[in-house]
Symmetry: C2
Subunit: 263 residues, 2 copies
Amino acid sequence: LQVTKAILDPFLRKLRQAVELTGGDICALQGALGASHRLEAHRDLISEGESAGAIRLILEGFACRYKVLDDGRRQITAYLLPGDFCDLHVGMLGSMDHSIGTITPCLFVNLRSDVLDELTVTHSRIARALWWATLVEEAILRQWLVNVGQRQAEVRVAHLFCELLVRLRVIGRAGQNGCELPLTQKDIGETVGISTVHVNRVLQDLRAKGLIRLTGRRLEVDDPVGLTRFARFSPNYLHLRHPEELVREEPVSLDRLLQLYCP
Amino acid sequence: LQVTKAILDPFLRKLRQAVELTGGDICALQGALGASHRLEAHRDLISEGESAGAIRLILEGFACRYKVLDDGRRQITAYLLPGDFCDLHVGMLGSMDHSIGTITPCLFVNLRSDVLDELTVTHSRIARALWWATLVEEAILRQWLVNVGQRQAEVRVAHLFCELLVRLRVIGRAGQNGCELPLTQKDIGETVGISTVHVNRVLQDLRAKGLIRLTGRRLEVDDPVGLTRFARFSPNYLHLRHPEELVREEPVSLDRLLQLYCP
DNA sequence: CGGCATTTTGACAATCGTCAATCAGTGTGG
DNA sequence: CCACACTGATTGACGATTGTCAAAATGCCG
Protein backbone atom coordinates (compact mmCIF):
# COMPACT_ATOMS: atom_id res chain seq x y z
CA LEU A 1 0.00 0.00 0.00
CA GLN A 2 1.36 3.33 -1.07
CA VAL A 3 1.23 6.26 1.34
CA THR A 4 0.31 9.26 -0.71
CA LYS A 5 1.33 12.62 0.59
CA ALA A 6 -2.20 13.95 0.94
CA ILE A 7 -2.98 11.40 3.60
CA LEU A 8 -0.42 12.93 5.95
CA ASP A 9 -2.46 16.15 6.06
CA PRO A 10 -4.10 15.51 9.47
CA PHE A 11 -0.74 14.69 11.00
CA LEU A 12 0.93 17.83 9.71
CA ARG A 13 -2.02 19.98 10.70
CA LYS A 14 -1.86 18.61 14.18
CA LEU A 15 1.86 19.18 14.59
CA ARG A 16 1.43 22.72 13.32
CA GLN A 17 -0.49 23.33 16.55
CA ALA A 18 2.71 22.58 18.45
CA VAL A 19 5.47 24.23 16.45
CA GLU A 20 5.95 25.88 13.09
CA LEU A 21 7.49 23.09 11.03
CA THR A 22 9.81 23.98 8.17
CA GLY A 23 9.88 22.31 4.79
CA GLY A 24 12.98 20.47 5.93
CA ASP A 25 11.17 19.14 8.97
CA ILE A 26 8.32 17.81 6.90
CA CYS A 27 10.58 16.11 4.40
CA ALA A 28 12.58 14.59 7.24
CA LEU A 29 9.39 13.21 8.74
CA GLN A 30 8.42 11.68 5.42
CA GLY A 31 11.79 9.95 5.38
CA ALA A 32 10.94 8.16 8.62
CA LEU A 33 7.80 6.58 7.21
CA GLY A 34 7.88 2.81 6.93
CA ALA A 35 5.36 0.26 5.78
CA SER A 36 1.67 1.04 6.01
CA HIS A 37 -1.07 -1.43 6.74
CA ARG A 38 -4.78 -1.70 7.29
CA LEU A 39 -6.72 -3.18 10.18
CA GLU A 40 -10.43 -3.88 10.31
CA ALA A 41 -12.76 -2.58 13.00
CA HIS A 42 -12.72 -3.99 16.53
CA ARG A 43 -9.23 -5.48 16.40
CA ASP A 44 -6.39 -4.97 18.82
CA LEU A 45 -3.26 -3.29 17.62
CA ILE A 46 -1.50 -4.00 20.89
CA SER A 47 -2.79 -5.77 23.93
CA GLU A 48 -2.08 -5.09 27.55
CA GLY A 49 1.01 -6.90 28.79
CA GLU A 50 2.76 -7.02 25.43
CA SER A 51 5.99 -5.14 25.03
CA ALA A 52 5.59 -2.19 22.71
CA GLY A 53 7.12 -2.71 19.32
CA ALA A 54 7.01 -0.51 16.26
CA ILE A 55 5.88 3.09 16.46
CA ARG A 56 2.67 3.55 14.54
CA LEU A 57 0.85 6.60 13.28
CA ILE A 58 -2.84 6.56 12.44
CA LEU A 59 -3.57 7.87 8.97
CA GLU A 60 -7.24 7.07 8.77
CA GLY A 61 -9.97 5.82 11.08
CA PHE A 62 -10.88 5.86 14.77
CA ALA A 63 -9.00 3.85 17.39
CA CYS A 64 -8.80 3.98 21.16
CA ARG A 65 -6.75 3.11 24.19
CA TYR A 66 -8.69 1.04 26.71
CA LYS A 67 -8.46 -1.17 29.74
CA VAL A 68 -10.69 -4.13 30.48
CA LEU A 69 -11.55 -5.17 34.03
CA ASP A 70 -11.90 -8.77 35.12
CA ASP A 71 -15.69 -8.46 35.20
CA GLY A 72 -15.69 -7.49 31.54
CA ARG A 73 -16.25 -3.79 32.01
CA ARG A 74 -14.19 -1.59 29.74
CA GLN A 75 -12.89 1.93 30.13
CA ILE A 76 -11.73 3.85 27.09
CA THR A 77 -8.91 6.16 28.15
CA ALA A 78 -8.18 7.94 24.86
CA TYR A 79 -9.37 8.29 21.31
CA LEU A 80 -6.77 8.01 18.59
CA LEU A 81 -7.64 9.99 15.49
CA PRO A 82 -5.86 10.43 12.16
CA GLY A 83 -2.52 12.08 12.92
CA ASP A 84 -2.21 10.50 16.38
CA PHE A 85 0.51 8.11 17.49
CA CYS A 86 -0.30 4.76 19.02
CA ASP A 87 2.82 4.09 20.95
CA LEU A 88 5.19 6.95 20.53
CA HIS A 89 6.74 7.25 23.95
CA VAL A 90 4.80 4.62 25.81
CA GLY A 91 7.31 2.12 24.48
CA MET A 92 9.86 3.53 26.87
CA LEU A 93 7.91 1.92 29.70
CA GLY A 94 8.48 -1.62 28.52
CA SER A 95 5.23 -3.52 28.70
CA MET A 96 1.90 -2.00 27.78
CA ASP A 97 -0.40 -1.18 30.70
CA HIS A 98 -3.38 -0.91 28.37
CA SER A 99 -4.60 -2.10 25.00
CA ILE A 100 -5.12 -0.24 21.77
CA GLY A 101 -7.95 -1.27 19.51
CA THR A 102 -9.65 -0.03 16.38
CA ILE A 103 -13.18 1.33 16.39
CA THR A 104 -13.50 1.65 12.63
CA PRO A 105 -11.29 0.11 9.96
CA CYS A 106 -7.97 1.94 10.21
CA LEU A 107 -4.92 2.74 8.15
CA PHE A 108 -1.51 3.03 9.78
CA VAL A 109 2.09 3.72 8.88
CA ASN A 110 4.98 2.36 10.83
CA LEU A 111 7.76 4.74 11.70
CA ARG A 112 11.33 3.54 11.73
CA SER A 113 12.21 4.19 15.34
CA ASP A 114 15.93 4.46 14.62
CA VAL A 115 15.29 7.15 12.02
CA LEU A 116 12.93 8.89 14.41
CA ASP A 117 15.50 8.83 17.21
CA GLU A 118 17.97 10.44 14.87
CA LEU A 119 15.41 13.02 13.79
CA THR A 120 14.81 14.16 17.32
CA VAL A 121 18.49 14.97 17.61
CA THR A 122 18.96 16.65 14.24
CA HIS A 123 15.53 18.33 14.12
CA SER A 124 14.77 19.70 17.57
CA ARG A 125 11.45 21.16 16.42
CA ILE A 126 10.26 17.67 15.58
CA ALA A 127 11.32 16.31 18.95
CA ARG A 128 9.44 19.15 20.55
CA ALA A 129 6.32 18.51 18.52
CA LEU A 130 6.30 14.83 19.35
CA TRP A 131 6.64 15.43 23.08
CA TRP A 132 3.98 18.10 22.83
CA ALA A 133 1.62 15.47 21.45
CA THR A 134 2.35 13.17 24.38
CA LEU A 135 1.87 15.92 26.93
CA VAL A 136 -1.42 16.97 25.39
CA GLU A 137 -2.57 13.38 25.70
CA GLU A 138 -1.83 13.64 29.38
CA ALA A 139 -3.71 16.92 29.63
CA ILE A 140 -6.72 15.31 27.98
CA LEU A 141 -6.59 12.49 30.49
CA ARG A 142 -6.68 14.99 33.34
CA GLN A 143 -9.70 16.66 31.80
CA TRP A 144 -11.48 13.33 31.34
CA LEU A 145 -10.84 12.50 34.97
CA VAL A 146 -12.45 15.79 35.98
CA ASN A 147 -15.48 15.04 33.83
CA VAL A 148 -15.98 11.51 35.04
CA GLY A 149 -15.22 12.38 38.64
CA GLN A 150 -17.20 15.57 39.05
CA ARG A 151 -19.84 16.08 36.39
CA GLN A 152 -23.28 14.75 35.67
CA ALA A 153 -23.76 12.24 32.88
CA GLU A 154 -25.35 14.75 30.51
CA VAL A 155 -22.50 17.21 30.87
CA ARG A 156 -19.91 14.49 30.47
CA VAL A 157 -21.28 13.47 27.12
CA ALA A 158 -21.61 17.06 25.95
CA HIS A 159 -18.03 17.75 26.95
CA LEU A 160 -16.76 14.71 25.10
CA PHE A 161 -18.50 15.89 21.95
CA CYS A 162 -16.99 19.36 22.29
CA GLU A 163 -13.53 17.92 22.61
CA LEU A 164 -13.87 15.57 19.69
CA LEU A 165 -15.27 18.35 17.56
CA VAL A 166 -12.25 20.53 18.23
CA ARG A 167 -9.77 17.73 17.70
CA LEU A 168 -11.46 16.73 14.47
CA ARG A 169 -11.56 20.32 13.33
CA VAL A 170 -7.82 20.65 13.92
CA ILE A 171 -7.22 17.83 11.46
CA GLY A 172 -9.80 19.12 9.02
CA ARG A 173 -12.44 16.52 9.69
CA ALA A 174 -15.22 18.62 11.17
CA GLY A 175 -17.12 21.76 10.35
CA GLN A 176 -18.99 24.00 12.73
CA ASN A 177 -22.22 22.12 12.26
CA GLY A 178 -21.07 18.58 12.83
CA CYS A 179 -18.71 15.73 12.02
CA GLU A 180 -18.53 12.05 11.29
CA LEU A 181 -18.52 10.26 14.64
CA PRO A 182 -18.47 6.48 14.36
CA LEU A 183 -19.01 5.77 18.06
CA THR A 184 -21.73 3.49 19.36
CA GLN A 185 -23.63 4.42 22.50
CA LYS A 186 -21.72 1.64 24.20
CA ASP A 187 -18.42 3.30 23.26
CA ILE A 188 -19.61 6.60 24.64
CA GLY A 189 -20.68 4.98 27.88
CA GLU A 190 -17.33 3.25 28.24
CA THR A 191 -15.65 6.60 27.73
CA VAL A 192 -17.52 8.72 30.24
CA GLY A 193 -18.30 6.00 32.75
CA ILE A 194 -22.05 5.55 32.40
CA SER A 195 -24.18 2.63 31.26
CA THR A 196 -25.30 2.22 27.67
CA VAL A 197 -28.92 2.67 28.61
CA HIS A 198 -28.14 5.93 30.33
CA VAL A 199 -26.19 7.17 27.32
CA ASN A 200 -29.34 6.73 25.33
CA ARG A 201 -31.38 8.76 27.78
CA VAL A 202 -28.72 11.47 27.87
CA LEU A 203 -28.59 11.75 24.10
CA GLN A 204 -32.34 12.21 23.99
CA ASP A 205 -32.12 14.93 26.60
CA LEU A 206 -29.40 16.73 24.67
CA ARG A 207 -31.50 16.53 21.54
CA ALA A 208 -34.56 17.79 23.41
CA LYS A 209 -32.48 20.75 24.56
CA GLY A 210 -31.75 21.51 20.90
CA LEU A 211 -28.02 21.10 21.31
CA ILE A 212 -27.05 18.08 19.22
CA ARG A 213 -28.33 15.13 17.27
CA LEU A 214 -26.37 11.90 17.01
CA THR A 215 -27.80 10.00 14.08
CA GLY A 216 -26.15 6.94 12.72
CA ARG A 217 -22.49 7.69 12.44
CA ARG A 218 -22.81 11.45 12.33
CA LEU A 219 -22.94 14.14 15.01
CA GLU A 220 -24.97 17.22 14.11
CA VAL A 221 -24.43 20.25 16.28
CA ASP A 222 -27.53 22.41 16.28
CA ASP A 223 -26.38 24.93 18.86
CA PRO A 224 -22.57 25.09 19.08
CA VAL A 225 -22.52 27.95 21.56
CA GLY A 226 -25.17 26.37 23.73
CA LEU A 227 -23.34 23.06 23.68
CA THR A 228 -20.05 24.64 24.69
CA ARG A 229 -21.72 26.53 27.50
CA PHE A 230 -23.70 23.54 28.70
CA ALA A 231 -20.57 21.39 28.76
CA ARG A 232 -18.49 24.13 30.41
CA PHE A 233 -16.01 23.41 27.68
CA SER A 234 -12.82 25.36 27.32
CA PRO A 235 -10.22 24.14 24.84
CA ASN A 236 -7.31 25.46 26.91
CA TYR A 237 -6.22 21.98 27.93
CA LEU A 238 -5.68 21.04 24.29
CA HIS A 239 -2.91 23.63 24.10
CA LEU A 240 -3.60 24.76 20.56
CA ARG A 241 -1.50 27.53 19.08
CA HIS A 242 -3.97 28.47 16.38
CA PRO A 243 -7.46 28.42 17.83
CA GLU A 244 -8.55 30.93 15.22
CA GLU A 245 -8.00 28.33 12.52
CA LEU A 246 -10.66 26.11 14.03
CA VAL A 247 -13.33 28.22 12.47
CA ARG A 248 -12.17 27.39 8.99
CA GLU A 249 -14.37 24.65 7.65
CA GLU A 250 -12.39 23.87 4.54
CA PRO A 251 -9.50 21.41 4.85
CA VAL A 252 -6.28 22.81 3.46
CA SER A 253 -5.14 20.72 0.56
CA LEU A 254 -1.79 19.13 1.11
CA ASP A 255 -0.58 20.48 -2.21
CA ARG A 256 -1.09 23.82 -0.60
CA LEU A 257 0.79 22.76 2.52
CA LEU A 258 3.71 21.33 0.59
CA GLN A 259 3.80 24.40 -1.57
CA LEU A 260 4.08 26.44 1.56
CA TYR A 261 6.51 24.25 3.39
CA CYS A 262 8.71 22.44 0.87
CA PRO A 263 10.87 24.90 -1.04
CA LEU B 1 17.98 26.46 53.70
CA GLN B 2 20.62 23.82 53.09
CA VAL B 3 19.69 20.75 51.08
CA THR B 4 21.41 17.88 52.77
CA LYS B 5 22.12 14.83 50.70
CA ALA B 6 19.99 12.53 52.77
CA ILE B 7 16.87 14.38 51.78
CA LEU B 8 17.34 13.38 48.14
CA ASP B 9 16.90 9.73 49.07
CA PRO B 10 13.26 9.42 47.91
CA PHE B 11 14.13 11.00 44.58
CA LEU B 12 17.06 8.69 43.91
CA ARG B 13 15.10 5.66 45.03
CA LYS B 14 12.34 6.56 42.63
CA LEU B 15 14.65 7.07 39.67
CA ARG B 16 16.31 3.75 40.42
CA GLN B 17 12.99 2.19 39.39
CA ALA B 18 13.52 3.62 35.92
CA VAL B 19 17.21 3.13 35.20
CA GLU B 20 20.33 2.13 37.02
CA LEU B 21 21.97 5.48 37.75
CA THR B 22 25.74 5.68 38.02
CA GLY B 23 27.64 7.71 40.57
CA GLY B 24 28.33 10.24 37.85
CA ASP B 25 24.63 10.58 37.11
CA ILE B 26 23.82 11.24 40.75
CA CYS B 27 26.54 13.82 41.14
CA ALA B 28 25.40 15.53 37.94
CA LEU B 29 21.86 15.69 39.27
CA GLN B 30 23.09 17.24 42.48
CA GLY B 31 24.81 19.91 40.39
CA ALA B 32 21.46 20.95 38.92
CA LEU B 33 19.93 21.68 42.32
CA GLY B 34 19.06 25.30 42.93
CA ALA B 35 17.49 27.11 45.83
CA SER B 36 15.16 25.24 48.15
CA HIS B 37 12.14 26.68 49.86
CA ARG B 38 9.26 25.80 52.11
CA LEU B 39 5.54 26.24 51.62
CA GLU B 40 2.83 25.78 54.21
CA ALA B 41 -0.17 23.53 53.77
CA HIS B 42 -3.05 24.44 51.44
CA ARG B 43 -1.14 26.91 49.28
CA ASP B 44 -0.84 26.96 45.52
CA LEU B 45 2.53 26.43 43.95
CA ILE B 46 1.19 27.22 40.52
CA SER B 47 -2.30 28.15 39.50
CA GLU B 48 -4.17 27.23 36.36
CA GLY B 49 -3.54 29.71 33.56
CA GLU B 50 -0.10 30.77 34.71
CA SER B 51 2.84 30.00 32.50
CA ALA B 52 5.05 27.38 34.05
CA GLY B 53 8.28 28.75 35.42
CA ALA B 54 11.00 27.02 37.38
CA ILE B 55 11.19 23.26 37.58
CA ARG B 56 10.59 22.10 41.12
CA LEU B 57 11.18 18.84 42.89
CA ILE B 58 9.36 17.89 46.06
CA LEU B 59 11.71 16.87 48.85
CA GLU B 60 9.22 16.56 51.66
CA GLY B 61 5.46 16.63 52.11
CA PHE B 62 2.30 15.87 50.14
CA ALA B 63 1.09 18.01 47.24
CA CYS B 64 -1.39 17.47 44.43
CA ARG B 65 -2.44 18.51 40.97
CA TYR B 66 -6.06 19.58 40.82
CA LYS B 67 -8.69 21.36 38.81
CA VAL B 68 -11.54 23.43 40.21
CA LEU B 69 -14.89 23.70 38.44
CA ASP B 70 -16.94 26.87 38.39
CA ASP B 71 -19.38 25.43 40.94
CA GLY B 72 -16.53 24.98 43.40
CA ARG B 73 -16.12 21.25 42.99
CA ARG B 74 -12.53 20.07 42.86
CA GLN B 75 -10.91 17.07 41.25
CA ILE B 76 -7.46 15.97 42.32
CA THR B 77 -5.69 14.48 39.31
CA ALA B 78 -2.40 13.44 40.90
CA TYR B 79 -0.58 13.20 44.18
CA LEU B 80 2.93 14.57 44.30
CA LEU B 81 5.11 12.83 46.85
CA PRO B 82 8.73 13.36 47.88
CA GLY B 83 10.87 12.70 44.82
CA ASP B 84 8.18 13.86 42.37
CA PHE B 85 8.47 16.78 39.97
CA CYS B 86 5.88 19.52 39.89
CA ASP B 87 6.35 20.84 36.42
CA LEU B 88 9.04 18.88 34.70
CA HIS B 89 7.75 18.65 31.16
CA VAL B 90 4.41 20.34 31.56
CA GLY B 91 6.26 23.62 31.04
CA MET B 92 6.63 22.73 27.39
CA LEU B 93 2.92 23.31 26.98
CA GLY B 94 3.06 26.99 27.87
CA SER B 95 0.26 27.79 30.26
CA MET B 96 -0.82 25.46 33.05
CA ASP B 97 -4.10 23.65 32.48
CA HIS B 98 -4.35 22.81 36.18
CA SER B 99 -3.14 23.99 39.56
CA ILE B 100 -0.66 22.48 41.96
CA GLY B 101 -1.24 22.90 45.67
CA THR B 102 0.22 21.60 48.89
CA ILE B 103 -1.68 19.28 51.19
CA THR B 104 0.83 19.34 54.02
CA PRO B 105 3.69 21.78 54.54
CA CYS B 106 6.21 21.02 51.82
CA LEU B 107 9.87 21.43 51.04
CA PHE B 108 11.04 21.95 47.46
CA VAL B 109 14.21 22.48 45.47
CA ASN B 110 14.33 24.38 42.26
CA LEU B 111 16.23 22.85 39.40
CA ARG B 112 18.17 25.02 37.02
CA SER B 113 16.43 24.23 33.77
CA ASP B 114 19.44 25.17 31.65
CA VAL B 115 21.63 22.76 33.61
CA LEU B 116 18.94 20.11 33.36
CA ASP B 117 18.65 20.57 29.59
CA GLU B 118 22.37 20.07 29.31
CA LEU B 119 22.21 17.00 31.52
CA THR B 120 19.68 15.31 29.33
CA VAL B 121 22.14 15.58 26.45
CA THR B 122 25.27 14.56 28.29
CA HIS B 123 23.62 11.98 30.53
CA SER B 124 21.13 10.02 28.48
CA ARG B 125 20.20 7.81 31.43
CA ILE B 126 18.98 10.87 33.27
CA ALA B 127 16.91 12.04 30.34
CA ARG B 128 15.41 8.59 30.17
CA ALA B 129 14.62 8.53 33.87
CA LEU B 130 12.91 11.91 33.74
CA TRP B 131 10.71 10.96 30.83
CA TRP B 132 9.95 7.68 32.53
CA ALA B 133 8.60 9.66 35.47
CA THR B 134 6.34 11.68 33.19
CA LEU B 135 5.07 8.61 31.38
CA VAL B 136 4.32 6.82 34.64
CA GLU B 137 2.28 9.85 35.67
CA GLU B 138 0.26 9.37 32.53
CA ALA B 139 -0.15 5.67 33.26
CA ILE B 140 -1.43 6.50 36.74
CA LEU B 141 -3.93 8.91 35.22
CA ARG B 142 -5.25 6.14 32.98
CA GLN B 143 -5.65 3.85 35.95
CA TRP B 144 -7.46 6.54 37.94
CA LEU B 145 -9.82 7.06 35.05
CA VAL B 146 -10.61 3.35 35.05
CA ASN B 147 -11.29 3.42 38.78
CA VAL B 148 -13.50 6.46 38.72
CA GLY B 149 -15.26 5.43 35.54
CA GLN B 150 -15.90 1.76 36.24
CA ARG B 151 -15.60 0.83 39.88
CA GLN B 152 -17.74 1.16 42.98
CA ALA B 153 -16.84 3.73 45.60
CA GLU B 154 -15.49 1.19 48.05
CA VAL B 155 -13.15 -0.35 45.50
CA ARG B 156 -11.99 3.06 44.31
CA VAL B 157 -10.85 4.03 47.76
CA ALA B 158 -9.17 0.69 48.36
CA HIS B 159 -7.35 0.97 45.07
CA LEU B 160 -6.14 4.46 45.86
CA PHE B 161 -4.71 3.22 49.14
CA CYS B 162 -2.92 0.34 47.42
CA GLU B 163 -1.34 2.69 44.94
CA LEU B 164 -0.22 5.19 47.54
CA LEU B 165 1.19 2.40 49.67
CA VAL B 166 3.32 1.15 46.80
CA ARG B 167 4.48 4.61 45.81
CA LEU B 168 5.34 5.45 49.38
CA ARG B 169 7.13 2.18 49.79
CA VAL B 170 9.25 2.91 46.74
CA ILE B 171 10.53 6.07 48.40
CA GLY B 172 10.94 4.38 51.76
CA ARG B 173 7.98 5.97 53.47
CA ALA B 174 5.76 2.97 54.09
CA GLY B 175 6.06 -0.46 55.62
CA GLN B 176 3.84 -3.47 54.98
CA ASN B 177 1.51 -2.58 57.79
CA GLY B 178 0.79 1.06 57.01
CA CYS B 179 2.04 4.54 56.31
CA GLU B 180 1.58 8.18 57.16
CA LEU B 181 -1.28 9.46 55.03
CA PRO B 182 -2.18 13.09 55.67
CA LEU B 183 -5.33 13.13 53.53
CA THR B 184 -8.68 14.32 54.81
CA GLN B 185 -11.83 12.48 53.81
CA LYS B 186 -12.60 15.47 51.62
CA ASP B 187 -9.31 15.01 49.78
CA ILE B 188 -10.07 11.34 49.23
CA GLY B 189 -13.52 12.16 47.89
CA GLU B 190 -12.10 14.74 45.51
CA THR B 191 -9.65 12.14 44.28
CA VAL B 192 -11.99 9.25 43.55
CA GLY B 193 -15.06 11.29 42.67
CA ILE B 194 -17.39 10.63 45.59
CA SER B 195 -18.83 12.90 48.26
CA THR B 196 -17.18 13.42 51.63
CA VAL B 197 -20.05 11.77 53.42
CA HIS B 198 -19.79 8.72 51.27
CA VAL B 199 -16.04 8.51 51.84
CA ASN B 200 -16.83 8.23 55.52
CA ARG B 201 -19.27 5.39 54.96
CA VAL B 202 -16.80 3.60 52.70
CA LEU B 203 -13.98 3.85 55.22
CA GLN B 204 -16.21 2.32 57.85
CA ASP B 205 -17.09 -0.53 55.53
CA LEU B 206 -13.43 -1.18 54.75
CA ARG B 207 -12.68 -1.21 58.45
CA ALA B 208 -15.60 -3.55 59.13
CA LYS B 209 -14.16 -5.88 56.49
CA GLY B 210 -10.92 -5.94 58.46
CA LEU B 211 -8.89 -4.49 55.59
CA ILE B 212 -7.69 -1.08 56.77
CA ARG B 213 -8.05 1.58 59.42
CA LEU B 214 -7.56 5.26 58.64
CA THR B 215 -7.00 6.99 61.95
CA GLY B 216 -5.88 10.56 62.14
CA ARG B 217 -3.07 10.96 59.70
CA ARG B 218 -2.11 7.32 59.52
CA LEU B 219 -3.26 4.41 57.37
CA GLU B 220 -3.04 1.01 59.03
CA VAL B 221 -3.31 -1.99 56.74
CA ASP B 222 -4.68 -4.95 58.62
CA ASP B 223 -4.99 -7.31 55.68
CA PRO B 224 -2.62 -6.37 52.84
CA VAL B 225 -3.47 -9.37 50.71
CA GLY B 226 -7.19 -8.93 51.24
CA LEU B 227 -6.93 -5.23 50.40
CA THR B 228 -5.04 -5.89 47.20
CA ARG B 229 -7.52 -8.53 46.17
CA PHE B 230 -10.54 -6.44 47.05
CA ALA B 231 -9.17 -3.46 45.10
CA ARG B 232 -8.18 -5.65 42.15
CA PHE B 233 -4.87 -3.87 42.42
CA SER B 234 -1.95 -4.74 40.21
CA PRO B 235 1.11 -2.49 40.29
CA ASN B 236 1.94 -3.14 36.65
CA TYR B 237 0.91 0.35 35.58
CA LEU B 238 3.53 1.86 37.90
CA HIS B 239 6.23 0.25 35.76
CA LEU B 240 8.59 -0.59 38.60
CA ARG B 241 11.79 -2.41 37.81
CA HIS B 242 12.36 -3.68 41.32
CA PRO B 243 9.05 -4.85 42.73
CA GLU B 244 10.88 -7.23 45.03
CA GLU B 245 12.35 -4.28 46.88
CA LEU B 246 8.90 -3.16 47.93
CA VAL B 247 8.83 -5.81 50.57
CA ARG B 248 11.76 -4.30 52.36
CA GLU B 249 10.46 -2.18 55.21
CA GLU B 250 13.71 -0.49 56.08
CA PRO B 251 14.65 2.67 54.16
CA VAL B 252 18.10 2.43 52.65
CA SER B 253 20.31 5.09 54.16
CA LEU B 254 21.63 7.55 51.65
CA ASP B 255 25.13 6.98 52.95
CA ARG B 256 24.62 3.47 51.67
CA LEU B 257 23.36 4.71 48.30
CA LEU B 258 26.23 7.15 47.85
CA GLN B 259 28.67 4.47 48.89
CA LEU B 260 27.24 2.31 46.16
CA TYR B 261 26.93 4.95 43.52
CA CYS B 262 29.67 7.55 44.07
CA PRO B 263 33.07 6.01 43.59
C1' DC C 1 -35.63 -11.75 3.44
C1' DG C 2 -33.21 -13.09 7.73
C1' DG C 3 -29.76 -12.47 11.12
C1' DC C 4 -27.30 -9.46 14.00
C1' DA C 5 -25.83 -5.36 16.21
C1' DT C 6 -27.52 -1.30 17.96
C1' DT C 7 -30.94 1.65 19.77
C1' DT C 8 -34.95 2.47 22.47
C1' DT C 9 -38.36 1.81 26.25
C1' DG C 10 -40.20 0.81 30.84
C1' DA C 11 -40.07 -0.76 35.47
C1' DC C 12 -37.48 -1.24 39.33
C1' DA C 13 -33.50 -1.20 42.47
C1' DA C 14 -29.16 0.47 44.23
C1' DT C 15 -25.59 3.48 44.81
C1' DC C 16 -24.52 7.62 46.02
C1' DG C 17 -25.41 12.80 46.91
C1' DT C 18 -27.40 16.37 49.70
C1' DC C 19 -28.74 18.55 53.86
C1' DA C 20 -28.33 19.33 58.49
C1' DA C 21 -27.15 18.25 62.90
C1' DT C 22 -23.96 16.25 66.23
C1' DC C 23 -19.62 14.66 67.80
C1' DA C 24 -14.61 14.56 68.30
C1' DG C 25 -10.06 16.48 68.08
C1' DT C 26 -6.88 20.34 68.22
C1' DG C 27 -5.07 24.66 69.12
C1' DT C 28 -5.66 29.37 71.18
C1' DG C 29 -6.13 32.79 74.53
C1' DG C 30 -7.78 34.32 78.97
C1' DC D 1 -6.91 24.94 83.47
C1' DC D 2 -10.90 25.75 80.93
C1' DA D 3 -13.91 28.17 77.57
C1' DC D 4 -13.91 28.90 72.88
C1' DA D 5 -13.47 28.42 68.06
C1' DC D 6 -12.47 25.76 64.19
C1' DT D 7 -11.76 22.00 61.36
C1' DG D 8 -12.69 17.39 60.36
C1' DA D 9 -15.39 13.14 61.25
C1' DT D 10 -19.78 10.95 61.92
C1' DT D 11 -24.74 10.04 61.76
C1' DG D 12 -29.51 9.84 59.93
C1' DA D 13 -33.12 10.89 56.79
C1' DC D 14 -34.33 11.63 52.29
C1' DG D 15 -34.03 12.12 47.35
C1' DA D 16 -31.81 11.97 42.84
C1' DT D 17 -28.99 10.11 39.53
C1' DT D 18 -27.80 6.22 37.50
C1' DG D 19 -27.56 0.97 36.92
C1' DT D 20 -29.77 -3.37 35.84
C1' DC D 21 -32.84 -6.34 33.56
C1' DA D 22 -35.58 -7.66 29.90
C1' DA D 23 -38.13 -6.82 26.05
C1' DA D 24 -39.25 -4.51 21.79
C1' DA D 25 -38.02 -1.67 17.93
C1' DT D 26 -34.92 -0.12 14.53
C1' DG D 27 -31.36 -0.27 11.31
C1' DC D 28 -27.85 -2.59 8.64
C1' DC D 29 -25.68 -6.03 5.63
C1' DG D 30 -25.22 -10.09 3.15
